[in-house]
């Protein structure tokens, strides 16, 4: 019996590896032509030409803030400096308990100004609306606390432009991010949403809200996340976008057409993954009604963000993300294997369900099962060791392929030392860090099954703005 169990375990482990690594490498292979085309396209795309053009549609930047006192002013200043011909900035204070509003008011001279809503999305009560005397395109919507989705819905309800951009309160948009993110809308009028790339900014050189020099973080926790983000954005999202099966646009940087999002009722306040849930709902809405649409990804449009440097906070974040994933897949389970939903239904959804959602549970079960088999003497160590080594090697391959793609198309990390560090992380993360993330994800799944909706407290430390500092040797 145990013999059979070990055999099944061996076979299923290999099968799982094949499927996980296989799907990732296939996505990477699909991403290669798109990334090469991106590099070539960059040769004739010049932001100065785009800025001078009057063709870019106006954009509203929706910036929800909750207890962002340490970073709020710097974040808004950075947004004011982003190059774009016509934009409004709507900062939505979601009932902060700290001095966010006071600090913003002092810095930007807000005064109360009436503003009519343009749609009737549901959101918590708006206490007052302010406009800056320094920059009339900068507004502050002060409302009762209702969560991030609620705050975004409030911003959307007052949005007066055809496009809006969803941001996090601590996002640092690259200067040309909007110009690059809007290009898919200009090239294809059916585009309704475009996701951008999120980059890790911990320990990078920042001045006046501009990332001057991208560096690898100094903390190991942040370093591993830098690698994870490269895997997610350099390969995975480009690949999914290439076959029009993109299921996620990060809430930290997404550009949307206002009308369709209002038509589907805005963001859902009942999930913790409101960004992904919105994208799924947009897919369903348009496919159910056979409306031509496109949801794309602009890999060269970047928003920088601070990632957690504490394992506790990182754990909460991953728990929340996985809970959100479970909620969303459950809510939209009607899309699974349905031809009507195209590659999302028959490819992307199953991948997210079996590999992203359930896969970590399988990985976590593997460890105690191995312990049982060892205890009972049924583990064939030469085979088990080879399987384990195979796991390590294939896991590293996934990351190394992503690093190669990142260098091919973006080259955000330009120091040889940083490349070498990333490669070392590709191996090291499989011994400890990966297992931690698996544990957190399984915990998220368990919490979903227990119906736990909390975010937990996420602390902000603020960006370390440089006055003058030597670059690391």
């Amino acid at each position: 019996m145990l013999d059979l169990l070990f055999r099944v375990f061996e076979l299923s482990t290999i099968a799982y590896l094949l499927v996980v690594i296989g799907h990732y490498l296939v996505l990477s292979a699909i991403a290669i032509p798109a990334l090469v085309r991106l590099r070539w396209r960059a040769e004739h795309f010049h932001t100065s030409e785009a800025v001078a053009s009057a063709s870019a549609p106006p954009i509203s930047l929706l910036v929800p803030m909750y207890n962002e006192e340490p970073v709020c002013v710097e974040s808004v200043r950075a947004l004011l400096g982003v190059s774009y011909p016509s934009r409004q900035i709507l900062v939505v204070n979601d009932g902060s308990k700290d001095g966010t509003v006071a600090r913003l008011t002092a810095a930007f001279e807000f005064e109360e100004t009436p503003r009519l809503p343009t749609s009737h999305l549901h959101h918590a009560t708006v206490r007052a609306i302010y406009r800056s005397r320094i920059d009339p395109a900068l507004w502050l919507i002060d409302k009762e606390n209702g969560g991030k989705a609620d705050a975004l819905n409030a911003g959307l309800a007052y949005c007066q432009t055809p496009l809006f951009c969803m941001l996090d309160g601590d996002s640092l948009l690259a200067n040309d991010a909007l110009l690059r993110a809007v290009q898919p809308f200009l090239q294809d009028a059916t585009t309704i949403a475009v996701g951008g790339t999120i980059g890790i900014v911990n320990d990078s050189a920042i001045r006046h809200g501009r990332v001057l020099d991208v560096r690898m973080p100094t903390s190991w926790v942040a370093r591993f996340q830098a690698l994870e983000y490269i895997r997610a954005f350099a390969a995975s999202r480009v690949g999914w976008s290439s076959i029009n099966a993109l299921m996620i646009i990060s809430g930290a940087f997404g550009l949307f057409r206002r009308e369709p999002v209002v038509a589907v009722g805005g963001l859902d306040e009942d999930t913790v993954g409101e960004d992904m849930e919105l994208v799924m709902r947009l897919h369903r809405y348009h496919r159910d009604r056979k409306i031509p649409y496109r949801i794309g990804y602009a890999p060269d449009a970047v928003s920088w963000t601070e990632c957690p440097e504490s394992l506790t906070i990182l754990g909460r974040q991953r728990d929340r993300w996985h809970r959100g994933l479970a909620q969303i897949l459950w809510r939209h389970r009607g899309m699974l294997y349905r031809r009507r939903y195209g590659p999302i239904g028959w490819l992307a959804f199953p991948v997210f369900l079996f590999i992203e959602l359930i896969g970590p549970a399988y990985e976590l079960l593997g460890l105690p099962l191995m312990a049982v088999l060892w205890w009972t003497g049924y583990a064939y160590w030469p085979i088990a060791l080879q399987v384990y080594l195979l796991t390590l090697v294939l896991g590293a391959t996934q990351s190394l392929a992503a690093i190669a793609l990142e260098q091919l198309a973006f080259r955000r990390y330009t120091r040889t030392r940083d490349i070498a560090l990333l490669m070392a992380l590709a191996v090291i993360e499989n011994v400890g860090y990966r297992q931690l993330t698996v544990f957190w994800r399984v915990r998220g799944l368990v919490n979903f099954l227990r119906d736990n909706q909390s975010w937990g407290e996420m602390t902000r430390t603020g960006f370390a703005t440089e006055e003058a500092s030597p670059l690391p040797t």
Binding site: L11, R115, L390
Partner: protein, 368 residues
């Protein structure tokens, strides 16, 4: 005809393939391990290789720029002929050289641009070669180079590129032709406008407007053509609006006539156009649209009345429009009243604590 196998059968097939793959790998674990390690090493080597190549290319580029830029500045200042610069460039350095000239060309105009074009001339064969590439992005780059740095002899190539299978390439060629301002290419450009529908009217309008008022007659003809695609006619109307082409007013009168079979989007574009170029004599035409069942038509009519209307004759319908079911129309009505100088009506509405009141108060706040 064979029917599709059921989902369960297909899932079973996939599982069978996975099981076969896993079984095979299990039987050949050492070989699988070695193959994976080799592949992994290849990925790492590729990443390093790309990085090293990029670093080398960057250093080469910096060295070339250090050599060329001082001479380029002399050439732009008129202290040296363009040949002094192009003689410094080897054939294999053409890409970096042209990229440098493009960066300058985007920031300069007039005679400076001509100087850059002269400096680029020996290497523009690269642009022609790129236009023949099988890859759309390379063809777009070729069109961009020839458009920015090429002389008028290259325009036929760009006109041909308007019919490129890739809309992106066609659009780059169209922009390049528009930047030339050469009216001789305008008929070809206007004939290809329906290819650029996906780009949206603002992008197309921005491009056409570069031809200036001289293009007005041709654009008006296209606007009047009932067989022209609707987006093309809208783009022509928007361009005429941007140019402020007053001679189009008689055409607008004819097309806005109630009996004219003008499509909806064109009608709205005409309302926007008449707001820009019309006079009070056109107001009766616009008034008929204030009660249109389509809220977007009402919106544009309200805006146009704000530009052309009479402060007393048109005040009542605009006050009525403050309560329009469409928020945007109501907002425009408020702006229209302000524009006609009827702030007294807005102040009266602002006294009430309802939607009209909030709208009026929002409109009365002065812009910074």
């Amino acid at each position: 005809m064979m029917s599709r196998p059921p989902v369960s059968a297909r899932v079973t097939d996939v599982l069978d393939v996975i099981e076969f793959g896993a079984q095979t790998m299990l039987e050949h674990l050492p070989q699988a391990l070695i193959a994976s390690a080799v592949f992994s090493t290849a990925c790492a080597a590729t990443a390093f290789g790309i990085h090293a190549a990029a670093v080398r290319a960057g250093r080469r580029r910096d060295a070339r720029l250090a050599r060329w830029e001082p001479v380029l500045l002399d050439v732009l200042a008129g202290d040296a002929p363009p040949e002094r610069l192009s003689d410094l460039v080897h054939r294999r350095e053409a890409d970096d050289y042209l990229a440098m000239l493009v960066r300058f060309a985007l920031r300069l105009d007039g005679s400076a641009r001509d100087t850059l074009a002269a400096a680029a001339r020996p290497f523009l064969g690269r642009g022609r070669a790129l236009l023949r590439s099988s890859i759309a992005e390379r063809r777009a780059l070729g069109a961009h180079l020839l458009g920015l740095l090429g002389h008028r002899g290259y325009r036929p190539l760009l006109v041909t590129a308007l019919r490129d299978p890739s809309p992106g390439v066609a659009m780059v060629a169209a922009r390049a032709l528009a930047q030339s301002g050469d009216l001789a290419v305008l008929p070809d450009l206007v004939a290809s406008l329906d290819r650029f529908v996906a780009w949206g009217t603002p992008a197309v309008t921005s491009m056409l407007a570069r031809f200036g008022l001289r293009s007005g007659h041709l654009l008006a003809l296209r606007l009047a053509a009932p067989d022209a695609p609707e987006p093309t006619r809208v783009a022509c109307a928007e361009t005429l609006r941007r140019l402020g082409y007053v001679p189009a007013d008689t055409l607008v009168e004819a097309l806005l006539h109630p009996a004219a079979p003008t499509p909806r989007e064109v009608r709205m574009a005409l309302l926007r156009l008449v707001a820009e170029i019309g006079t009070a004599a056109h107001a009766p035409l616009v008034r008929r649209h204030l009660t249109d069942p389509d809220p977007v038509v009402r919106l544009h009519a309200v805006t146009a009345i704000g530009a052309l209307g009479d402060p007393f004759l048109d005040a009542p319908p605009l006050e009525e429009a403050l309560g329009d079911t469409d928020t945007w129309t109501a907002l425009r009505a408020a702006h229209a009243l302000a524009r006609l100088g009827r702030r007294d009506l807005l102040e009266r509405a602002a006294a009430f604590d309802d939607d009209r009141g909030r709208l009026a108060r929002q409109t009365l706040v002065p812009a910074c």
